[in-house]
């Protein structure tokens, strides 16, 4: 870059961006690659802020947590396969179902969706990165460390054991004296930091970073889903973080928030937890529904039916979610909220959900479906969604509620919701975007096998749980007597669970095989409509050689849909070049008119260190090493200062300032 003469001072603050083309192999393109690519080797590995790398790391890490949680589940299913088995002690069973729930809900379900969104957002929106690339790296590192943190006491047989919603007083200092709950509490506060900075990044990216012309009504549904989830997270994560922090204070410092003997109120826990828990359930399904809304149309060869309705339904769901909590607070008294969380919520939520379901069915109906593997997963998702929805409405009906609460009916319902609405779209999404991630297609034949084995195994495993619930089998019991008549359903459930696990295994084999031997994918192997398919697979470090100009919701289908009429066609080959350092365009929140040339920060290891020091500070709190904690917090602050130090190259400082480049 030194060969280029520095532009005069004024154009460093304001300039007309060049418009042009930069086909692969041109000088401009090569220069862009140089500007954006990370260093090779471990240095680049540690300091990269490329959203694609971070997104894939998120996906892989979260998937590993899914496998860990899955193995815990299989051990539980072995224990429950027959009556009076003694594979596990009651305490071990408690720890397993708690860690299974915690892992699935907190370490798998949202992080994997953040992974998809991190990878896909800038590509879908026509940008070169997220707004805050370094924050993005930070959020990944903290997520990773928080996950490790929460598992720290597992090998010692001291894992969290009070269920994933961790009710006091059972989780309080009197009944639970080990480190179990402290690990959970501090781990959750740490994880909250990760989720929060991630959410800030998504919200600001949506409002600032869309390609010119991508007005708010042209963004893909996945973006709506993640946006809604992120806004909700910003509002409710503090609630759960606070709850866990107060609990930790009660346990380790001796405060009295939940301490009944001294005027504290266990119900405060339930308020603070469910203010968060309710929207969270939607946060882990809405982006997954977005995956389906965006990918399903590709296989139906037509646009999604009712785009605007689905987008509105997405946001309405979250609003309803907040409202349900308020309603519960005043009308039903609190314990019921907790009990029927997955129930009553599902009832109110059924209206916006029904809108989405009809949109998907209509899309399949009016389209000409192509039965590729991803389509199977998305269609399977629609079926499971309907079953899960029905059982939800059933639990929401008051008389049935009393009958079914705290039975396996709830366990069945929540797995239909979570696996159906999260796991199936996620696996389908991996099949769909795998060519974009890696440049290779996944194998179709193994793919179909993986789908059918998963689908059959899942239904064989979880449908009978409804019956177990109707037969009165309570949840969270480590064994049962054969006089109860629950033997057969449990055996079938256990067998089904293992069949499902084999399906997941087949999927993993497919990934491994396809990574090496999959057929090469072009930029748009599925002939899809959205912007991420306009760039090569895998995408270059800079994403878009020129910033595209968007004129419709389906930029790659414009020739056949005539959608661009009146507004002009989208322009993908010609656009802003922006290559004086890492640059991209910032646009206005609603109409996406260009407003500013954004300077993007380079790779940096500071996010890694901030995350590391923060996590070590939490470890210090856990171990009561107070001076170590202090030291780590100080290191964290210093790392943050280095991170935030204004740089001339980013035009954060006056270009004419006389001081020497004080680079830290």
């Amino acid at each position: 870059m030194s060969a280029i003469t520095r532009p005069p001072s004024d154009s460093r603050l304001r300039r007309s961006p060049d418009i042009g083309q930069a086909p692969v192999g041109s000088d401009a393109e090569i220069r862009l690659a140089e500007i954006w690519e990370s260093l090779p080797g471990w240095k680049g590995w540690l300091s990269t802020v490329d959203h694609k790398v971070i997104g894939l790391r998120y996906i892989v890490t979260a998937f590993v947590f899914l496998l860990i949680g899955g193995m815990e589940a299989l051990i539980m299913r072995l224990q429950l396969a027959g009556p009076n088995l003694t594979l596990l002690t009651p305490e071990q069973y408690n720890q397993l179902f708690t860690m299974h729930g915690v892992t699935m809900i907190f370490l798998y379900a949202l992080p994997i969706l953040s992974g998809f969104s991190n990878y896909l957002w800038p590509l879908m929106l026509g940008s070169r990165d997220m707004t805050f690339p370094r924050l993005n790296a930070l959020s990944y590192w903290i997520f990773l460390f928080a996950g490790i943190f929460m598992y720290a006491s597992f090998p010692l047989g001291q894992a969290p054991n009070a269920g994933w919603f961790n009710y006091v007083p059972y989780s309080g200092p009197i009944y639970n004296t080990g480190p179990n709950i402290d690990v959970f509490a501090l781990g959750m506060v740490l994880l909250g930091v990760s989720t929060t900075v991630g959410s800030v990044n998504f919200v600001v990216t949506l409002f600032k970073m869309r390609a010119p012309g991508m007005t708010i009504n042209r963004v893909p549904i996945l973006v709506w889903g993640t946006l809604t989830a992120s806004v909700a997270n910003l509002l409710v994560i503090p609630s759960v973080s606070l709850a866990f922090f107060l609990l930790w204070l009660d346990r380790q410092v001796g405060t009295h928030f939940f301490d009944v003997a001294n005027g504290g109120k266990p119900l405060l826990w339930q308020h603070l937890f469910w203010i968060f828990g309710h929207p969270w359930v939607y946060a882990i399904v809405l982006p997954a529904m977005g995956i389906v809304s965006d990918a399903l149309p590709t296989f139906c060869r037509r646009p999604l039916v009712g785009y605007a309705w689905v987008a509105l339904a997405t946001m309405a769901t979250m609003l309803v979610g907040f409202e349900v909590w308020i309603h519960h607070m005043f009308a039903t008294g609190l314990p019921a909220v907790a009990l029927s969380i997955f129930g009553a919520a599902s009832f109110v939520i059924s209206i916006p959900s029904a809108v989405a379901v009809f949109a998907w069915i209509a899309t399949i109906w009016l389209g000409t479906p192509v039965f590729k593997t991803p389509f199977l997963f998305f269609a399977g998702f629609v079926i499971l969604f309907v079953i899960g929805g029905l059982s939800g409405v059933m639990t929401a009906a008051v008389p049935l509620d009393w009958q079914l609460n705290e039975t396996y009916f709830i366990v069945a319902h929540l797995h239909y919701v979570l696996l159906g609405i999260n796991v199936f779209p996620v696996v389908g999404g991996i099949y769909y975007w795998f060519p974009k991630f890696t440049g290779r297609m996944m194998d179709e034949k193994i793919g179909k096998w993986s789908f059918w084995v998963m689908f059959i195994g899942f239904n064989a495993g979880f449908f009978p749980m409804h019956l177990a619930g109707l037969l009165g089998m309570p949840r969270r019991i480590y064994t049962y007597s054969s006089r109860m008549g629950w033997d057969t359903v449990n055996l079938i459930t256990s067998i089904g669970s293992f069949v499902f696990a084999i399906g997941v295994l087949i999927f993993l084999v497919n990934v491994a095989v396809s990574l090496r031997r999959g057929t090469r994918a072009g930029s748009n192997p599925w002939d899809a409509a959205t912007l991420e398919w306009s760039v090569p697979s895998p995408p270059p470090a800079y994403n878009f050689a020129v910033i595209p100009h968007i004129a419709s919701r389906h930029p790659l289908w414009e020739d056949r849909l005539n959608e661009g009429e009146g507004t002009g066609q989208s322009s993908l080959e010609k656009g802003y070049l922006l290559m004086e350092g890492r640059e991209t365009i910032g646009t206005s929140p609603i109409d996406a008119t260009p407003e500013i040339i954004l300077k993007m920060p380079g790779d940096s290891a500071t996010p890694f260190f901030v995350g590391l020091f923060l996590s070590l500070a939490f470890a210090g709190m856990l171990l009561h090493w107070w001076s170590f904690t202090g030291l780590m917090i100080l290191s964290c602050i210093i790392a943050l200062m280095v991170w935030m130090w204004p740089e001339k190259a980013l035009a954060q400082r006056s270009p004419t300032d006389s001081s020497r480049e004080a680079h830290v």
Partner: protein
């Protein structure tokens, strides 16, 4: 097509310019989430106090004189932060430095007085429920003041290094709004802990 092209041909600001900067949006989002945090803290206070069986606050009504003065000091420091940016925008760098310095001194004074207020309490964090609430809430706020002061110190350093001028000083705008947030939150904390018991 040509219309769209014309739209694209405008000269645009480059880099971190004021409220167009990503950082501005980021801090607003952060304030929303931090604001919620204090909302939940105060919710906990009201929830627990409304169910208290004993007299509330157990130690009787808090004295108002010192905390009121302290509140005024904190608000004043916000004004000086604002003035610092105002000076910078009018090319008065020296004035900007002085204003920032005063703001920091006032902020530090707030911390000092608050520490004194803490030590004058007859109860502690663990002595009863009220003590737990009082010290946790004011402790959280104190933490934010300290972070805010570190930010102001950094801003002071950067202004005196002449990093910023009338055109480019997004960091001041961004750091400044955080400080204002910390001060506004104090008004809520003050109202809840000190004025509310009198109502």
């Amino acid at each position: 097509m040509s219309e769209a092209r014309q739209l694209l041909d405008q000269p645009l600001p480059v880099g971190s310019e004021g409220k167009l900067a990503g950082g501005w949006w980021g801090i607003v989002a952060l304030i929303v989430t931090e604001g919620s945090l204090f909302g939940y803290l105060l919710f906990s206070y009201f929830y627990l106090s409304s169910q208290a069986e004993r007299h509330w606050p157990p130690e009787g009504l808090p004295s108002l004189l010192l905390p009121s003065i302290n509140t005024a000091i904190l608000i004043a420091s916000s004004v000086f932060v604002w003035a610092s940016e105002y000076c910078l925008a009018r090319k008065r760098k020296r004035g900007s430095v002085v204003m920032m310095l005063v703001a920091i001194v006032l902020g530090a004074l707030f911390v000092g007085i608050q520490l004194k207020e803490w030590s004058s309490k007859t109860y502690g964090m663990t002595s009863d429920l009220y003590g737990s609430l009082y010290f946790t809430i004011t402790g959280f706020h104190m933490l934010h003041v300290v972070i805010g002061l570190v930010i102001l110190l950094l801003l002071l350093a950067w202004i005196s290094f002449r990093y910023f001028d009338e055109k480019r000083h997004a960091a001041i705008t961004i750091g400044g709004i955080y400080w204002h947030f910390v001060d506004v939150v104090w008004l809520f904390v003050f109202t809840t802990l000190y004025l509310f018991p009198y109502m």
